[in-house]
Symmetry: D2
Subunit: 430 residues, 4 copies
Amino acid sequence: MRVPTLLGRLLGTAPGRAGGDTRKAEALCRALLSERGEAAGTALAREALDAYEALDDAGRARLFDALAQEFAPDPERVARAAEAYRRDPSASNQVRLQAVVEPPRQELFRRLNMAPGGTAGLVALRKQLLRELPQHPEWAALDADLLHLLRSWFNRGFLVLERIDWRTSAIVLEKLIAYEAVHAIKGWPDLHRRLEADRRCFAFFHPALPDEPLIFIEVALTRTMAGRVQPLLDVAAPLGDPRQARCAMFYSITNCQDGLRGISFGNFLIKQVAEELRDELPQLRTFATLSPIPGFRKWLRGRDVAGLERLERPGWQQAKGSDSLEGLLMPLCASYLLGGKRGTEPLDPVARFHLGNGARLERIDWLADTSPSGIESSAGMMANYVYRLAEVEHNHELFVNEHRVIASRQVERLAREPWPERGTPNVARA
Amino acid sequence: MRVPTLLGRLLGTAPGRAGGDTRKAEALCRALLSERGEAAGTALAREALDAYEALDDAGRARLFDALAQEFAPDPERVARAAEAYRRDPSASNQVRLQAVVEPPRQELFRRLNMAPGGTAGLVALRKQLLRELPQHPEWAALDADLLHLLRSWFNRGFLVLERIDWRTSAIVLEKLIAYEAVHAIKGWPDLHRRLEADRRCFAFFHPALPDEPLIFIEVALTRTMAGRVQPLLDVAAPLGDPRQARCAMFYSITNCQDGLRGISFGNFLIKQVAEELRDELPQLRTFATLSPIPGFRKWLRGRDVAGLERLERPGWQQAKGSDSLEGLLMPLCASYLLGGKRGTEPLDPVARFHLGNGARLERIDWLADTSPSGIESSAGMMANYVYRLAEVEHNHELFVNEHRVIASRQVERLAREPWPERGTPNVARA
Amino acid sequence: MRVPTLLGRLLGTAPGRAGGDTRKAEALCRALLSERGEAAGTALAREALDAYEALDDAGRARLFDALAQEFAPDPERVARAAEAYRRDPSASNQVRLQAVVEPPRQELFRRLNMAPGGTAGLVALRKQLLRELPQHPEWAALDADLLHLLRSWFNRGFLVLERIDWRTSAIVLEKLIAYEAVHAIKGWPDLHRRLEADRRCFAFFHPALPDEPLIFIEVALTRTMAGRVQPLLDVAAPLGDPRQARCAMFYSITNCQDGLRGISFGNFLIKQVAEELRDELPQLRTFATLSPIPGFRKWLRGRDVAGLERLERPGWQQAKGSDSLEGLLMPLCASYLLGGKRGTEPLDPVARFHLGNGARLERIDWLADTSPSGIESSAGMMANYVYRLAEVEHNHELFVNEHRVIASRQVERLAREPWPERGTPNVARA
Amino acid sequence: MRVPTLLGRLLGTAPGRAGGDTRKAEALCRALLSERGEAAGTALAREALDAYEALDDAGRARLFDALAQEFAPDPERVARAAEAYRRDPSASNQVRLQAVVEPPRQELFRRLNMAPGGTAGLVALRKQLLRELPQHPEWAALDADLLHLLRSWFNRGFLVLERIDWRTSAIVLEKLIAYEAVHAIKGWPDLHRRLEADRRCFAFFHPALPDEPLIFIEVALTRTMAGRVQPLLDVAAPLGDPRQARCAMFYSITNCQDGLRGISFGNFLIKQVAEELRDELPQLRTFATLSPIPGFRKWLRGRDVAGLERLERPGWQQAKGSDSLEGLLMPLCASYLLGGKRGTEPLDPVARFHLGNGARLERIDWLADTSPSGIESSAGMMANYVYRLAEVEHNHELFVNEHRVIASRQVERLAREPWPERGTPNVARA
């Protein structure tokens, strides 16, 4: 189902290369939206995507400009339909209003999606769009349209949870190595250790993106709640017996697709994985994370606390007397997590995510991540957030409606400890 | 993840049964749309669907009323957002406009879809809605919202084409028997014959509806273009050799899901099946349908033509002299197919479908379907529409833009033959 | 990899049809055994099987004659190798002995097995051989060779247990309908009922025979031990809840492949299915059969017992006073099952099978199978054999070494009841 | 299905560890062969294998001794059966003879095979046996029995050809890295390159050994017949277009299972892979190997040829004037391959394999493998053997019956070139 004649007619004369490619892509997009597009079906959609993919960054930017300007709803028609609906909010006026308000590019995206590989193509297109969006605020509505569609298409009801292990295809496994964003996977032996019998790994997939994990989570099965991450990452760690485990430690969770930014998968993933594990290993008692506290050191730099200058000395964590730093930093970290705010929400992005999911901040761990980046970002501290499935909804509600941080007494007590030379701290100070 | 406390609070006191069930379902829908709904995730969605499914028809009607009235966009806010967009069609105004115009029930449907079995639940809900829609025009916008989402979710890019044969699961095969709408399948031996080596059957599936064909098509591989359907339906028909076949006869196509009415799958299915067959059997030369002409007799009743009274005698087709009827009816049928119009489109729904897909009307077949319904609806005549993949786009364009019916010379000539006692007919007369 | 030249040379001149086909098949068999056979590989094997399959019964008989006579071990060489081994039972003498004793046709069968579809071909060949074996005792060693190989190839370690349900391919399901040998399956609705949620069906498959069940078993999940088979076979029987079931009733077991006669699958199948069911439904307490007693009426005809003449009246089981027959026949049946012998083994073949597997005879059921064949063969009685996995080995040992029939006290007591006019019967009398 | 009581009885008193373990394993083997073994089924078989696997090397050797001595056929019974057969080679005498000659351990192995993982257990057992066989010639018949069974079970008809690529499970891929015996795979990136679009890799699997390749072959798709192996092994080699390829170069073939030594898979694998490739890529013209010549340097050391001393200088291949060595060594190598014999077969094992398969020696390649081992074993030379499917049978026959080496004229001419200072060499001289 080729459309050479169509293109010839649409493009008129043979165009120069630089502008011409964008014109070709745009013409194909218009053709796809036309009557002809309906009969041409998937071949024309593929051709349009190919034309887009053949563009360089500049050509793509020009196409985004066109999509942003010319495939938008008509303000006058919108105004008339809105007025009609205001006067008579009937079903037919509402249907007409929605038809007028929906930008034609939404239909364009839906038709592009029909192409073989179309969904992957649109996810890649949005990745490109997002990369340049900071320089092009005028593309915001274009991005909103794409996000709207992708969020609908990547609805939880369409995702498939799959266990990842050493039987998984190499084509998927190599992507885990490439994507892992929290604790880098140092090659295949490292990955293999993370998929052994005392570990679990799960990912969400979408049927239209085969071999492409959307998000994955790594879990260690342990006897007690882990307080240090390096032993979990040690390729030579002795193999544990999963039947002896009482804790499932979620020690890494990674979103894989830049083009799906803004669509939240993590909340669903953690909860479904907890349910899966509970079914497989009924003896598990605790589902907890071992999480970074990425904003702590930055927040700390804004505090005026005696003794913090010792953190500037390289290797302080191995030096004698680092124990005294523990007494200083643990209360500060608790204050940060309980009191540090961005608006009404926790300042720390990881805390924001887990507390927003309804987890509770259970414990802060001293010298839990002694990697350079762990020392650098959080003075080596990590946090355990515990997921109790029976409580997450209630916690979430308190979190959203009352802006409360659900934490253990131990952490709350820590946060009330006095800071050096400043009397009793409290959350408000943070 | 149960939400008993939530429901208790939402529902207040224990309600009476008849109204109460609907109130429970509505309350669950509201809870699902709330903040809590985000954390509750799939369990609450499932609960809401269960509550809906537990309702009787009256209860469902009350829920549809609520969804139609209370989950609609706010006319005043719409008017303000439209006015703002009219004054300044900026990206942010556009985003705000779209947010205000989108009815909250769209988000509700998206969240219901998260439930296990959610997609199937929504398709069933729409089936119910459509059944009662004629009595409830006020639900039109509600249905439009649901259709809008389902059309997006059942985008061609998400459909999976599968060959159906005797290796297919019985759970799918029994649905073919149940759904077949053109030439009823009379039990398993009949089905088996239709899946033998000289036949092909394909269906579209959606990953979220396992074991549920959306649409399926039955194909007979023949030496020449078939002009009678009974031999194709004969369970005892001798087995042909597919390697000797030159024609793929599409003799039945059935949409399976009432809840997906208005979403067109047939066009894509026919074309992809033609491509699949061409790949598998490169010696195939013709891809054609053997199609009913369902509106012919009805149209005929409005014509004033001598000799038609013979059609009223039962068994006319076996009577002596039925040949002379052929000379009478064939030109009439050609006139009907070429000239019978509903607005600018063909009057015959099957013609409308195939011609709209870009097929061409190749031949009219005399005594091609002698079943009671074939005699009743089309005086036993059928039509062959031919799909030439290289021409369908062009044909479709002529069809849409110029309202032209693409037909063979043979059929065009037939349509020009004089009707008895009336001189030369022409298309305009039809 | 065609071998036309080879054949031409082997066959010499063009042979007459009747004899020639067998000669061709035999020549291909010899070629396959030769050096050339090694390089020709699977194509020559396929050609030889094709040649065999093209033969009519007479041609096949001639080929069997040839295989029986000419592909046998050489008696003189055997004698020499045996004598050498007798004088010096060294490893090398043993190896040589075995090589000389193995008939060349075993290697021929192994090479035929290399053909695509080779295993199925050999199973079909043995089916044919067995059919004619009664008329050809001289083929006994040929059959023994084939059986030896097939038994080794269909070793339990190579079988795959698969659950059969309504998701199974129609190509397998239709074979269940065709093969069922105990309680005929009357079409697809009957089969469907036997695969509902309160039923289970399992089969053994061999990887080289895809879509071909070797043996299958049908199980009903019930509250109590079933004592009548008709309710289990009723297509309209109400659906039970498998979670409420306490008994797994094995009510039908069928060997599917005539060509594998003499290879026992049933023992393994029953025990593995019991384990599977125990894992899936831990609340199951009893694994029992509801079995025919096929030899009872025949055995009864040899007894001299008053009152049996009533059994000759058609419809006796519905006649008034049939209860008194119960008092007469139940002890007789118990005597038959406990005391009826063929050598040291039970006379009843079904009893022989289950008792040999280590099951115990738990109960005899009155009017348990009122179908014509049930009345005809066992006066409507059936037997429950119970499988207790912890006891089957011990029972089997008692059965084999001490020829003991393991039965419940209830059945033993029945067997001791006096027969009319004859005083107290005992097992020895049977 | 535990058998504790059995074991207690069989073993009598609690045995000392060292001897006792072997006694336990042997007792379990005897139990498995007994009547009880039939009812115990797969659990007892697993227990016996477990007992064997728990033994150390000394314990296993004692068990092998027992199996070799006590599970052998009885010489006197063999002699009587052989004599009976000699006097009357009837079917029944033949059947009896075979029964008496078959060592009971064959039945033991068949019963061990019933255990879950039984086949893998037996393959591992034979691997152990083969390792120690050189020190224990008295186990030769034991090994012959095991080989006989395994050869029958791993018959070509039961093997499954699978394509290996980057979608294959890591559990299989890591075994390729571990097993590759010709050109070592240096980690995952190296493996990945060998599975790219311009490469093919196929393996035989057996259904009872999941995830365990039996043999695999690596193929490079090239424009012309490759004469150097290093470019094929280069991880950074540019990606070729498979549609442009005319040659399939088989550059590595590895048997994976030591326990299956003596069972030939390579011949079947090469030919079926050639057929697969021909189907997938019809434009392929040449199927050829690029093979080592492992025995050449060793053979050369026995020749008295001037100039060979230069080969002793490390790095000679990069030194100036190495070209003159080409003129010296190429004819010698041709002489080696065409004339070097072990009995009637080629002296070079790789030549023996490919020529025995019916391939033809097409070309000898100078400096084709410059790795240390390539220089060491064959002075850097390699050979191309070409597989023409239409000729392999004929070639094989000439090879077996007339001991002819099928070679190209070019190689034959090389072999006739004079060696320095010695006049015209000929094949007889080699």
